[in-house]
Symmetry: C2
Subunit: 232 residues, 2 copies
């Protein structure tokens, strides 16, 4: 009861939808009807309905009105946190073991996954949790987009956290697949056929590629959880 007016209206409408009292396709009252019902300004009911639209509960069509949307398993919000933070949240010690750090010139070892112009830094390493391998990391960094990366010290500290602090705002794309350990089996201390979760991430600053990273987790030591829940 201490919430703001638009939040209370929003919850009121959401309850009617989630309970099934208003089923999918049902036309909800017009903004002007809701104004009269709640005795408030139009902007206030508009804000409440806009939040429901953002959550996919309602669809709006001009002249026709606002309708309860068909439920769909559409999207989920996936947490892709920093590995060091995950490990420390478990109460385990964390460190990053650097296996390789090489500067590549444009022609050298082109990677189809990461087509940055100019020099790139190739980094390979292992995230260690409580003394045991937690994830293998293979990373390429564009030195044009991240100047200073070639003189940073990645023995002990993961390049991911360095980039987070030193390269400003980014856009990212993730790809999640399953694969066998194979060439990283020895590094991770697994059988070659062990199932692993592979997360790839491409990061841009404006339109320039900044970094590509491929992280491989033992399937039995890591999972990803995605929530799709209404906002409180």
């Amino acid at each position: 009861m201490t919430a703001t007016l638009d939040q209370r209206i929003r919850r009121d409408l959401e309850r009617k939808i989630r309970s099934g009292a208003w089923s999918p396709g049902h036309r909800i009252p017009t903004e002007r009807e809701l104004i009269a019902f709640y005795g408030c300004a139009r902007m206030t009911v508009g804000k409440a309905i806009a939040a429901l639209v953002a959550d996919g509960l309602v669809e709006r069509r001009k002249k026709a009105g606002s309708f309860v949307a068909q439920p769909r398993v559409r999207t989920a919000v996936l947490e892709i946190p920093d590995i060091a933070a995950v490990v420390r949240a478990r109460g385990e010690t964390y460190r990053f073991d650097l296996l390789q750090q090489t500067r590549l010139t444009p022609g050298q070892r082109p990677d189809p996954a990461f087509a940055a112009a100019g020099d790139r830094l190739l980094i390979e390493g292992v995230h260690i949790a409580a003394g045991r391998p937690f994830a293998h990391e293979h990373r390429l960094i564009s030195l044009a987009a991240a100047p200073g990366a070639d003189v940073a010290d990645f023995s002990g500290r993961s390049p991911g956290s360095w980039l987070l602090e030193n390269v400003p705002w980014t856009t990212a794309r993730h790809r999640i697949t399953a694969r066998q350990a194979l060439d990283v089996a020895v590094t991770l201390g697994l059988a070659r056929a062990a199932a692993c979760l592979q997360v790839e991430r491409w990061t841009w600053r404006q339109d320039d590629p900044v970094t590509y990273v491929r992280q491989i987790f033992p399937g039995d030591r890591h999972d990803l959880v995605a929530e799709f829940a209404p906002r409180p």
Copy 2:
């Protein structure tokens, strides 16, 4: 240039942030300063900034002001679409082969992953794309939450799409892991050690559990892509 005023202001501010002109921690002008600059009402700049807050680009503190947020790889929006829709979008034929359909009474074969009261329906089947196995599905449905599921016909049609149409609004939680094919290897036509992507989904209506589903995809035939991009 045809966008609305709040969108143009939002883009204007976002460009300053993403380009690095305003770096993380920088204090952006107050709403009242922006009003003067853009010559508009306070609600309009408020809407623009609220959108930036929703995207995690800006943090606001009363009395102190609004600041460019520290970039974090926080969350990504993951598409978890209907399997039938994915297959058909590829231009392949789709069907669902039912392997087992059993009604369970409360005491029978309790599943730690799905603790619904009352009778449950256990469904096991395979999603078939272009004649080849695409995913194995193991599902439990609470008959209290989804009445009618026990008389529905799931030979040919996936229970997921049936539920989507027949059970109103839901909340969902997803878990993504990697595993070997093992007991579903024969069904999917894979080696027992083949790496597979396993997606589990728990669904509630209000606070009542509706269904639990575990889908297993051959690692080389499926992936999940998550975008974290600014809104246009």
